[in-house]
């Protein structure tokens, strides 16, 4: 007898990992977000009509665009970091610094994008 090995999502998320663990989680959220976006997009084109229009309304909404832009941009920049470190394992000595660089690239780029989306959406 004993308890099974199952690790629930909430238990896993509560693990106090390093900065790399946060990027690992955000990478998955990014992938999931893009999956939702593409599914909605295909569904809207396939179904059409009022239902399709309603779905279009979701992803044309500025709040959704800010979310999806986060997903795409973070997934791309984080993926690039992982690829570089995979190709040059010696750089893994500086994995923490690589994550700082990633945030230093991501935050201004994403900040500008959010600013432009908000200015367009709310500025008229």
């Amino acid at each position: 007898m004993g308890l099974k090995r199952d690790v629930s999502l909430s238990t896993g998320l509560r693990y106090r990992g390093p900065a790399g663990y946060l990027t690992f989680i955000l990478h998955r959220i990014g992938g999931l977000g893009m999956g939702i976006f593409i599914t909605l997009h295909i569904l809207a084109s396939f179904v059409g009509g009022r239902f399709g229009g309603a779905i279009n309304g979701i992803y044309e909404n500025w709040a959704f665009q800010i979310f999806i832009f986060f997903c795409v941009m973070f997934h791309a920049i984080n993926g690039l970091r992982i690829t570089i470190l995979d190709l040059f394992p010696k750089l893994l000595d500086y994995q923490t610094e690589a994550i700082w660089i990633e945030w230093a690239v991501f935050i201004p780029l994403y900040g500008i994008s959010v600013f432009v989306i908000l200015q367009t959406a709310l500025g008229g």
Binding site: R5, V7, G12, Y15, P18, F24, L85, D86, P89
Partner: protein, 235 residues
């Protein structure tokens, strides 16, 4: 100082699920968490179960989650984790009792990567040892330090999701022999690690590197094995 210790408890003979029991202990800031657990077991609750052996960070028996992160209880001081300490078993392995997990699945994965020296060619003419330069030895020095405590493997989200994944510890021990110039089974090990539950399941969360009590750069070792797999070169 008074330390509040919240410990995961599970008795397979009575409990259907685990629960937490809190103890108040008078401890010194330089005490190790293992000392605190020993005190609780000795003076307050003899039924508390946990593994320990050398108590000096060598045997790797007492890996547990302390304040949400994998550590060896014998290597972490009270002053490093504060006066509110939560102690739980490591994740991803079946729990047998309290903080004791079933290590068999971990060792089964470890054995899959052939973690022993393989060389079937004849001994040197003098019949003595196979020589190795200091540089050749240094190539895998880091990964010889592994004590198989499972802190890395049980901190890995890929392992939590799939217990068949060999896990960081197995790959670290494969690295130790793959890059040993005297060993002749690197190709065999790389083939094993190329299987579905092998190295491809590493998604570089880095939890393993931080969890390792021996400060092995686990993700780097995995990265080097990945590169050897891609290029077929062991330099």
């Amino acid at each position: 100082m008074e330390v509040t210790v919240k410990i995961f408890r599970y008795n397979p003979e009575k409990d259907k699920r685990g629960n937490y029991v809190t103890y108040k202990v008078d401890a010194d800031e330089n005490d190790r968490v293992l000392d605190v657990l020993e005190y609780i077991k000795g003076k307050m609750d003899g039924a508390l179960s946990f593994r320990r052996s050398c108590a000096h960070g060598v045997c790797g028996s007492d890996a547990m989650r302390i304040n949400g992160r994998n550590m060896l209880a014998c290597k972490v001081l009270v002053r490093d984790v504060g006066t509110n300490i939560t102690v739980e078993p490591i994740l991803g392995l079946p729990i047998k009792k309290d903080l004791i997990v079933d290590m068999e699945p971990f060792f089964d994965n470890y054995k899959k990567v052939l973690p022993y020296f393989i060389n079937d060619s004849a001994l040197p003419e003098n019949g003595r040892e196979r020589l190795q330069s200091p540089e050749e030895r240094a190539r895998f020095d880091e990964t010889t330090k592994c004590i198989l405590c499972a802190a890395c493997t049980t901190s890995c989200p890929s392992f939590w999701a799939n217990g068949e994944y060999y896990g960081p510890a197995a790959i670290v021990n494969a690295h130790r022999f793959i890059f040993d110039s005297r060993d002749e089974a690197a190709d065999q090990r790389l083939q094993i690690l190329a299987e579905t539950d092998g190295i491809a399941r590493c998604h570089t969360a880095y939890n393993c590197t931080v969890a390792c009590p021996r400060e092995i750069k686990v993700t780097k070792a995995i990265g080097e094995v990945k590169m050897a797999m891609m290029t077929g070169k062991l330099d």
